[in-house]
């Protein structure tokens, strides 16, 4: 099927955009979460909360996630036409997509540069963790990571064609969700690199922060939906489809239940336990962190699906 509202009947009614699908949602989630992960692990490494091995592994995982997200975005481009993808950088003065392409490219390059000294054969490169060059690269990576998190919301909010997206709260919500997914991924990285025994050491910082971020994201989501429920006709229709229409399952079960309530309860209950000696509690926490990732993706996906155009006339 051709893309666009091609099967729409010739009647005047509110229509949802249908061409930006789950691939774009995965890109916004994957690259955003990856940016959140790198930002937080550089910050926490700076504060000596996590060790170098965790930071490096997190960076590798984040890099792979960003590249996979970009691969999804590539397949979303037009068949045949997608091979001219380098044209995407041509109009940064007016297009948020072009700006995002610049940001994500620089971020990937910075990550590769930061990771290179840890690769056998490149260990002598003069921008290791303790050098000025390394500090500069890390500062640049944090800057571009934050820029990408904001971009993932700005690209949608910049268009006034779809009222549900056209609000300054969307970039704020997406930044908050990127931080949440990044922070939720960090315990999984710790678990993968050190097993359960290290979880207790980092937990004193991570668990309260995660609970706080979960509560903050829930609050932002509530404000967002509430605000849109009193906005234009198209925005109200978006809210209707989200909370009681076609996307209600994805929203209530996925975004709210799995993405916010479940991890809040699991982390809240498990955080007080002795983690090092209790594999079951560690598993609880890991499950909670995994649930955050599912909620993060479903938020982007359902928000894209309920993007309703206003009446064209």
């Amino acid at each position: 099927m051709s893309k666009g509202l091609t099967t729409a009947p010739f009647t005047l009614e509110l229509r949802a955009q249908c061409h930006w699908d789950w691939k774009v949602a995965f890109y916004l989630y994957g690259a955003g979460s990856s940016a959140g992960l790198i930002f937080l692990e550089l910050l926490l490494r700076r504060w000596d909360v996590i060790d170098e091995a965790t930071a490096l592994w997190g960076m590798w995982i984040g890099l792979v996630l960003a590249l996979v997200s970009l691969a999804f975005l590539f397949t979303h481009l037009g068949p045949s036409a997608r091979w001219r993808f380098l044209y995407v950088f041509r109009k940064p003065a007016s297009s948020w997509i072009a700006r995002g392409a610049f940001i994500v490219t620089v971020l990937v390059l910075l990550r590769i540069l930061i990771l290179l000294p840890s690769v056998p054969g490149f260990t002598g490169l003069p921008w290791g963790e303790e050098t000025n060059g390394g500090a500069l690269l890390r500062a640049g990576a944090m800057l571009f990571a934050f820029a990408f998190m904001a971009y993932s919301g700005l690209v949608l909010s910049s268009w006034n064609s779809i009222a549900f997206w056209n609000t300054p709260l969307l970039p704020i919500l997406y930044v908050a969700y990127s931080f949440l997914a990044g922070l939720g991924a960090l315990p999984l990285v710790v678990l993968a690199t050190h097993g359960g025994e290290k979880m207790g050491a980092v937990g004193s910082i991570l668990w309260p922060s995660l609970l706080l971020l979960l509560a903050l994201n829930g609050f932002l989501l509530l404000i967002y939906i509430w605000g849109m429920a009193t906005a234009t006709v198209a925005a109200r229709e978006s809210v209707r489809r989200l909370v009681s229409g076609s996307q209600r399952g994805s929203f209530w079960i996925g975004v709210v239940g799995v993405g916010l309530v479940l991890p809040f309860v699991m982390i809240g209950l498990a955080a007080g336990q002795e983690l090092a000696n209790n594999p079951a509690t560690t598993l609880w926490l890991a499950t909670g962190c995994g649930a955050i990732q599912i909620g993060g993706f479903l938020l982007r996906d359902s928000f894209l699906r309920v993007g309703i155009y206003g009446y064209p006339v």
Binding site: S2, L77, S80, R84, F85, I97, Y311, P312, V313
Partner: protein
């Protein structure tokens, strides 16, 4: 330099879809892609219910959101105000489709023709003008405009509901209509500055609509 504009007289449109077919015949757009549409709406209740018809097409906005959103610069505005897509530059991001409040652009991914995979000679010739995976939309029949002929939809309209002309020329037919009839532009509040005017009845108005 001319700035081409378009008027749609909502009192005259009878919903015959002649413009839709004329556009398809002229430009050979693939199945399910309609550069010109006439949407219907039911208004009122029995026994006073009526159907209204609203022709929709690209408004060739002066501040086109599709062009602003396009990262590749594939969507460009000609000096005469016609917004066209350079299919050699488009990569099929579909940002224009999200950004356009009139949901005008489409992307053709090289699907079958009207009669299945094997295309009839007409389709083979016409589809050759479209690059697979790129966006497409109404281009104001610029090939006809450049030859001094009206767009196909205007030429085909039996009710004289569609008109076009130079907005910069005070004596043009389109400005005459705008002086004679009340009019509005679609979603003007969004700041797109469309070049299309809907005429709604007698009464006149300022030349150039919202200026």
């Amino acid at each position: 330099m001319a700035r081409w504009g378009f008027t749609v007289d909502l009192e005259r449109c009878v919903g015959c879809m002649g413009c839709v077919i004329a556009c398809k015949a002229e430009n050979g757009t693939p199945p399910s892609i309609h550069w010109m549409k006439v949407v219907e709406k039911e208004e009122g209740e029995y026994p006073y219910a009526k159907r209204t018809f609203t022709p929709l097409r690209c408004n060739h906005c002066a501040d086109a959101p599709c062009a602003r959103s396009c990262p590749t610069g594939a969507i460009v505005k000609r000096p005469d105000g016609i917004v066209v897509i350079d299919q050699d530059v488009c990569i099929g991001v579909m940002a224009c489709m999200s950004a356009c409040p009139y949901y005008v652009p489409y992307r053709w991914d090289g699907e079958d023709g009207y009669y299945g995979e094997e295309k009839v000679p007409y389709e083979t010739v016409k589809y050759a003008a479209f690059k697979k995976g790129t966006a497409q939309k109404c281009h104001f029949c610029y090939h006809r405009i450049d030859e001094g002929r009206p767009p196909a939809c205007v030429e085909s309209c039996p009710a004289d509901a569609l008109n076009y002309g130079d907005l910069e020329d005070p004596e043009s037919r389109i400005n005459e209509l705008l002086r004679q009839k009340n009019h509005f532009r679609p979603r003007e509040e969004l700041g797109t500055n469309p070049s299309l005017f809907y005429l709604t009845g007698k009464g006149g108005g300022k030349v150039g609509g919202g200026k």
